[in-house]
Symmetry: D3
Subunit: 243 residues, 6 copies
């Protein structure tokens, strides 16, 4: 039994609060149990320099943690004057994951920037950020179409992400911090609504794992992500109903 | 009449959510209307180098804004690699304000760090941050006494802060962003429960103001801060009752 | 009696050396006793990016201290790779103070940059810098009008600044370093020739002060600043006479 | 047929030059076709601060590219003043990969730093770097045992890495730059001599891939890595024979 | 006798490998004994901002050392976030030396950037870098003329550089690291094929030297540089023959 | 004839103001015509980390220019966040020059830091800085001996420096900015009271020079430096007389 009384294949309670940030074109506060990430999507009518004049758009992401989102206070990256390697790795992952399900050639020369800020951390912040960012992006795309900034909907399908890992020899879905810090191996999967893979990252810090363990993790992730995508669709329906 | 239908001497709706951040020794989400600031207090059993061996404690603060807390997205300071002059000015002000009401000589060699992160901005973020930080600090001090980290309560009294300004010739309390950006002069006051002054900052960007206007601002602030301090006391009583 | 034999309301010896820096369009070495600040004004026929195309001008300031301007050597900010929060706070104050008395809409798209470099420090460097910068700015404006760079004089009136503080319960004008470091509260006032306020900053590091003390400080400052402005006018007359 | 006349499951010519760097405790110039990476291992009798006093060792890595290792010149990271997100991601991967096959508890408080510098790039620099770093690490471990710096051999087994990807719908092993830049999906696998997984990273920039494609890539990688490990063993035997 | 069995006026074995870097327009791996520097020349059809619109070209250089090119590992400058004063001094010297023998007015608005990266260091890296850079520059100029990027050959003549120094009272040519670190004085000379001086730098760390010693060093350098220039010509002839 | 009416071998008016900076252990404002440099010497009872425990002392230097010391305003290095290559080159040169004439083994574990800040620039700032720094250093050494911080005088002899260059084919001593910017070649020489060489730096930006020109420059420098050293001795005598 897991220390948190969850089944091996059980997600934490997941909650999406759409439109959490008043100023952003799209936003979602995503909660996977005690992991809380505020995702905002900012629409801009210009592209980064490397795309200027190419007639195509861009989606990118930035990630940060509030200093006391963690059990022990972390130094503030703005005060240290640089983002850690971990931060950069995560924000690159979020950006790639979202670019996988949007057709940037339909965006014209516009850009959507996702900001994912961790208000509280308990494991799985990067996968919560991807899952919430899809909703913020969706809302920003709707805003842009309603306001005549985008002619067509460039979104192809939904995307979500989940972590899983091997803890004491058993494969668990959606690790919390306690599980994550004692896992022999952990993995992050990003998949689409239609079940396609976007990113697979499995790592064994100071250790190794065999093929059967990897397959067990992928199976857990596949099922978990389909549940997350169903919850995303619910959140979008409710927002539409409320409008 | 003000554009937001408030009286000249009327505060926005003020709300304190104590214990918002699960991991911090003290925390408070403070809301002054649409200005939302998360204040956390982190207790540490060590002091900065310049105090090592002096037997006294320290209180300090850091401040940040989420990139899309503002109407238009701001660049992320961690990505730019430095904190702006404005950020540094504000965090220095918050730290000084709290050190005014705590007897650091009663803290032993311990430190409390306040992190004030603006989730949403609509004017008055620095004064909301000071007002909420007092509550986070109070909770952290209680935690430290309960856990044997502090022998005596070093807090002398409560502190709160408010902005006010001259808009179209009239003195208004608690400016929102719209008022702040059109003010001829604006001021921030930090005062204690017993009515003493901690900080006075009045400035007229590209303009000037006379002594009578300044006196009107100070009068508004004095009344507003006493209301804020009453609300702080309520929040502390409710938290105690809930414990 | 003050340790320096001054009356509570007595300024230090004040001296302005106009045109100290050969290359600058305006310059003044200002001395408040042992505090010596070199202020230069550099005229540029372009504005910062945020004003491009708006037809209006700008005045801004930078501040620095030579490493051994102080009693103990300070680290060189250029070598450390960043300006301290204190430095940024001061240079923002100087810029705002001068923009209060110049009509930037009369400047066309031109900019005047004030550089205030402390050659020797004995308290009150920021107020000396503001007071001297007005003279450097005045000289640069004259240069620009003489050389056809400005069509009209954009200066509205003179501005000067002084510090004061409460030392052992008594309000003193124009604190030197010794007084400043033992003050219970200290304040900086920036006022114009016509007696209007530009900036008020009063602070009580680790302490508080009451309203009557604040009023006493403001009264001292008001009188001190009028004396400084008279000395500024003398310096300008002498420079004109010498031309 | 591949543009380089290789079979889908065919590695490029692989060459290891052991002891390439005269001063390092271990070194290897690794060549995967036109990708050339110099790997050096530096032995140090101290550990990073977070391990001080814990009686255990550490292995870490840094990665860089010479400015003109690439087709178009890249800016020098030392001149820009920071390492890119990509650089940090790669050096973190190299470090984790090597820590997977070394028992740091047998190292005492010593550290081995791998420096992987790309002299010429034609795709697959990170996997070449891991594969070559194992050899540099092996040589440095031998040096340390011979010189009494390590009592026991902490290496558990060999490790190697390879990239593969889907190009025009076909899975290819060991992509060169031309293939990599047109791949629909690409993956990096790190495995040990005994066939265990250390890291799996599969990504589809702006696209997606299905499970069967992923399985095909893993199969290619498994076979390719066993060939690389055989070549590593040859290189070690030849070095031993030459000694 | 020198510890390396060389005569006082004897160069180390010098070897130039032309075209070492596949992607660069010009490249040379230069070896002065155990000092190995990879020099690449990158041709660009644009000039730095300060030359835009002036119709003239530019040649500049950057220098770096691999972390384990030295006996003890040096920190990586990209990781530290800045180039040392020594690095900047050397790259400025290399750039000036090459600009002395090229007529930038014949280059149109094009630029050639030399990158000099030390793979292995044993003294004299800056002089090896200058000597090798000339060959990389020569090859890049030929490439540019062949490819219609330059209409005329802007090179005036060859340039080379050598170090020399006073060790235990005797003047030696081409110091290795062992000699350099015990020298009383050392000097670097840059001269052209026609015997003209480009740069003279002589320094006595913590010591002094007299005029006769300086003259002895210059004489050694003059002879050494003429030998280097002869070897450069050989390398160019062989490359031409091989084409 | 030179544009400034000086003879080819004629120095500018040279003036040393000893004790210019009130707080420093040694200080000198040095003026070579319109080039004004403030040199301060700060005595510290500790050494940099690389010398800790070695029983020997250190002398080092930092250099800076006020933003408007130059004809056109330069960006402030503290604001840009880094010192230029030129700045670092110059401060390394000043430090080496002074270490040449002080026996650091007689200093115990103490350090003297020279700060050379250019108040006004008209060519030759680095040589003025070295010449003035010797006087500041001398004064600081006296202070340290008087105050029991140094047991023995570690100074061996005086040192001074001068620039010279070839302008329109003629060798001139002590170039001003106008001459320096049109020189075909320019050189800086650092020599001691006894006529020994400390540093020789000759450079021909975009050009070359022959041996006879170099000899002419060295001859001019030799004579000029002996005049400077005589003036240094005068300044020291006057200071002693005044004490």
């Amino acid at each position: 039994m897991r220390h948190n009384n969850r089944q091996p294949d059980q997600l934490r309670d997941v909650c999406f609060t759409m439109g959490y940030a008043r100023h952003a074109e799209g936003s979602c506060l995503v909660q996977f149990g005690d992991t809380h990430v505020l995702c905002t999507a900012s629409f801009e009518s210009k592209v980064p320099p490397f795309l200027k004049g190419k007639g195509t758009g861009w989606v990118t992401a930035e990630y940060g943690m509030l200093p006391r989102s963690t059990h022990d206070r972390m130094d503030r990256e703005a005060a240290k004057g640089k983002q850690s390697g971990r931060t950069q790795e995560i924000q690159r992952l979020i950006g790639r994951s979202l670019r996988a399900i949007i057709d940037t050639s339909l965006m014209g020369e516009t850009q959507i920037k996702l900001d994912c800020d961790v208000l509280q951390a308990d494991g799985g912040t990067r996968t919560a950020a991807i899952t919430g960012s899809y909703l913020a992006l969706h809302q920003a795309v709707n805003w842009a179409m309603t306001n005549g900034k985008l002619a067509k909907n460039p979104l192809r399908e939904a995307v979500a992400a989940i972590s899983c890992g091997v803890v004491n020899g058993t494969a668990y879905l959606d690790l919390d911090y306690n599980e994550d810090s004692t896992a022999d191996a952990d993995a992050n999967f990003v998949m689409t609504q239609s079940g396609l893979l976007v990113e697979v990252q499995a790592t064994a810090e100071g250790s190794t794992f065999d093929r059967s363990k990897f397959d067990a993790l992928m199976k857990l992730a596949d099922e978990g992500i389909q549940q997350l995508i169903a919850k995303q669709q619910d959140a979008l329906l409710q927002m539409k109903a409320a409008a």
